[in-house]
């Protein structure tokens, strides 16, 4: 956490984490503060997100169960609350199998590097008004630089396993990353353009306040912002290899893709990394589009800022799970087609839209309505045209054996 | 030895490693990687002079940004060439690329 002094004018809940940190640091000599504060930030982040990972797996299984009309795990502990720990014990006590022909070093390195790379992006996310591990001028760039290497680890895992399914998964992971890194970055550029900064704290600060007293200045509540948010979330689904874009680990075609030759603790690490990556991208989406730690209404600021951040983050993660429960997996050609023929053009047009929005920031009164109408049209019209062209040449599907 | 000298020495070493790869290795992909490494060594020089140079100008950093962009383009084209070579000759050894007409 940054070593800002504790402001006194805020509610004690808001500053409680800072005071706790200062109390802990007070136990140590002055010369160790810089490293102790970093270690503390890392420990808190890993601890909080580790616990969140544990319960996210449970929440995912419970939600999926309810959506499929079954209760989900409910045996271990009260209502299944100890299930993640039972799973952890099971994963840790399993035999670690390495294939004889595998590239042993890369095989062991892949899960470790994947977890590490999935976690380091969290360092620049402002979790609350004063809670950011490192303030960086180019924080958004740092986040995506950290995230860019994750598919490299998946490639390493797939290639090192010496298994044709794993190798196919590695190829797919690369194709997916090359396709979806572009719309992911392009959908962030409008936010950077309008906010005029790459710093996450400044982007969140720019989304403070309310128009007409009730309409928050969150980017998602503008036409271009909503479009960019949707594009970002679609690309984030693909980046974190979640269904419906989980082609690298498509269990029905590739056994488990790059996970085929992993067992026990290494498998658990992959599982953990998937959730860390999902949480990191969701946290970035909250920061960029959903106003970060800002409360939706003024009187709701009685709750501390990190509670709002956590609420938004959990809502997005629930959305990830909901989508996983709903959509079937795409084929690889459909996946790349969606990226290059729909997401990239949409993101480019959206960039122009955001430029228009930031140029017309001074308009007010009736001109404000014009600004909204133009921006809305610049989202809706390309969406209709592009989605139509995406399906051009494809008639309505006729199934020979299924009742229509 | 001053930090600037250290930086320049490092970039020379990296440049020479890249150069050796370009001159010695036969695989087209490795040669391309050697060229990338040489470009990176040059970038390191720019950054070193920006950091320790007389100062007042940020052009070094800007130049590195352009260099990175151009290197990305170079990698894309180069690897497309490698794939085309592989398709025609079923190998990526550079000595196979000795015909103008494929």
């Amino acid at each position: 956490m940054t070593t800002t002094s504790v402001p006194s004018s805020e509610s004690w809940l808001e500053v409680a984490p800072l005071q706790a940190r200062d109390a802990l640091l007070g136990l140590l000599p002055e010369s160790l503060h810089w490293i102790a504060s970093s270690v503390l930030a890392i420990a808190v982040l890993v601890g909080a997100f580790g616990l969140m990972f544990a319960y996210l797996t449970l929440a995912e299984r419970k939600l999926l169960g309810r959506i499929q009309n079954r209760p989900g795990p409910n045996r271990t502990g009260w209502a299944g609350l100890l299930q993640p720990f039972a799973d952890a014990v099971k994963a840790l006590t399993k035999e670690d199998i390495v294939p004889r022909d595998a590239d042993k070093v890369l095989h062991a390195l892949a899960p470790v590097s994947l977890v590490a790379l999935s976690l380091i992006g969290l360092a620049v996310i402002p979790f609350g008004r004063h809670l950011v591990a490192i303030e960086l001028d180019a924080a958004v760039l740092y986040f995506f630089a950290a995230g860019a290497a994750t598919e490299l680890s998946i490639f390493m895992a797939g290639w090192a396993s010496r298994n044709k399914y794993s190798l196919l998964a590695a190829m797919r992971a690369l194709a997916q990353l090359i396709s979806y890194e572009v719309p992911l970055l392009l959908s962030v550029v409008p936010v950077v353009l309008v906010a005029g900064t790459l710093s996450t704290t400044a982007i969140v600060a720019a989304q403070g306040g309310w128009a007409a007293g009730f309409w928050p200045h969150w980017h998602v509540l503008t036409p271009w912002g909503f479009s960019a948010f949707c594009l970002f979330m679609i690309a984030a689904l693909a980046e974190s290899n979640r269904s419906p874009f989980d082609l690298p680990e498509a269990e029905s075609e590739l056994i488990a893709g790059h996970l085929t030759e992993y067992s026990g603790f290494k498998y658990a690490l992959f599982f953990m990394a998937e959730y860390f990556g999902m949480a990191a991208l969701s946290a970035m989406a909250v920061t960029l589009f959903l106003g970060g730690w800002q409360a939706p209404l003024g009187w709701l600021e009685v709750l501390p800022s990190y509670v709002w951040f956590a609420a938004k983050l959990l809502a997005l993660l629930a959305g990830f799970i909901w989508i996983r429960a709903t959509f079937p997996r795409l084929r690889i050609d459909q996946l790349t087609r969606l990226a290059w023929k729909f997401l990239v053009p949409m993101a480019l047009l959206n960039l122009a839209n955001a430029a228009f929005w930031s140029l017309t920031a001074g308009w007010s009164g009736p001109l404000q309505a014009v600004r909204w109408a133009v921006s809305l049209a610049a989202v809706v019209v390309p969406f209709l045209l592009l989605s139509r062209s995406l399906f051009s040449g494809l008639g309505p599907r006729v199934y020979r054996y299924a009742p229509s | 030895m001053s930090p600037l000298h250290l930086c320049l020495l490092l970039s020379t070493v990296l440049f020479c490693i890249g150069l050796a790869a370009v001159l010695v290795r036969t695989s087209a992909i490795l040669v391309l990687l050697g060229v990338e490494l040489m470009l990176n060594a040059a970038n390191l020089n720019f950054i070193a002079f920006w950091r320790y140079g007389p100062g007042g100008d940020d052009t070094g950093v800007i130049f590195v940004l352009f260099s990175i962009a151009v290197a990305a383009a170079e990698a894309a084209v180069g690897l497309a060439l490698v794939i085309a070579l592989h398709r025609h000759r079923r190998t990526i050894a550079l000595k196979a690329a000795n015909q103008l007409r494929g």
Binding site: L63, R66, I67, Q68, N69, R70, P71, N74, W322, I323, A325, T326, F327, F342, F383, L384, L386, S387, R388, L390, F391 | -
Partner: protein, 205 residues
């Protein structure tokens, strides 16, 4: 348009999620060990032996140890030894009746061939044991279950069997009575003849 089907799909799953909390038509899961499933009447898996009285199940078995089922059983999982007295005369009941449920394939042929309705199919599916050989070999005393139990698990079939048995018994009795009357009428002075040459199919003891 690209989004319509996606939104419809999301709505379907959302309805399922909400509905599973209040709509028993959606939430169809039974939490098994606590709540036993209601088995359909036609469900049947392994055979058991029908006995008449609960207080003496082994003494009132319908089985007469005719060994038809033992011969018919395709996987040969039935083993029967006839009970005999000291002189070697058959007592028309089994001394040993074993069914190896690890071999039984639940084909129900023993039930089909039994002329005495003495073996029927059970509904017990919790047969897991911690021992592979002896625990799955069911003996006479484990197999014997009362007719009341049969009525509980397969009411229709049991009622039909009972009605048939009662009718047969009644017919046999009437036939015996008529035969006895005729014999009495025709050969009054003759000394006592064997009264009942053919035993009725009803259980002997």
């Amino acid at each position: 348009m690209i989004g319509k089907g996606l939104l419809q799909g999301l709505a379907v799953t959302a309805r399922n999620l909400v509905g599973s909390y209040h709509d028993p038509d959606r939430y169809t899961t039974i939490e098994y060990p606590e709540v036993k499933p209601a088995l359909p009447e036609a469900y049947r898996n392994f055979p058991f032996l029908v006995a008449e009285k609960a207080e003496d199940p082994l003494g009132t078995l319908r089985c007469v140890a005719c060994q038809i089922c033992e011969k018919e059983c395709p996987p040969q999982c039935i083993y029967i030894v006839m009970d005999r007295d000291e002189k070697g005369k058959a007592r028309m009941k089994p001394k040993v009746f074993d069914i190896d449920t690890s071999v039984c394939m639940s084909c129900q042929i023993c039930v089909e061939v039994c002329p005495f309705d003495a073996i029927k199919m059970d509904q017990v599916f919790e047969i897991a044991t911690d021992e592979r050989f002896n625990a799955l070999l069911l003996h006479r005393d484990q197999l014997a279950k009362t007719n009341t139990y049969f009525h509980q698990i397969h009411p229709t079939e049991a009622a039909e069997v009972d009605a048939r048995l009662a009718a047969e018994k009644k017919a046999a009795e009437e036939k015996a009575k008529a035969a006895a009357a005729a014999k009495a009428a025709s050969a009054k002075p003759a000394p006592a003849a064997p009264a009942n040459p053919t035993p009725p199919p009803a259980p002997a003891p």
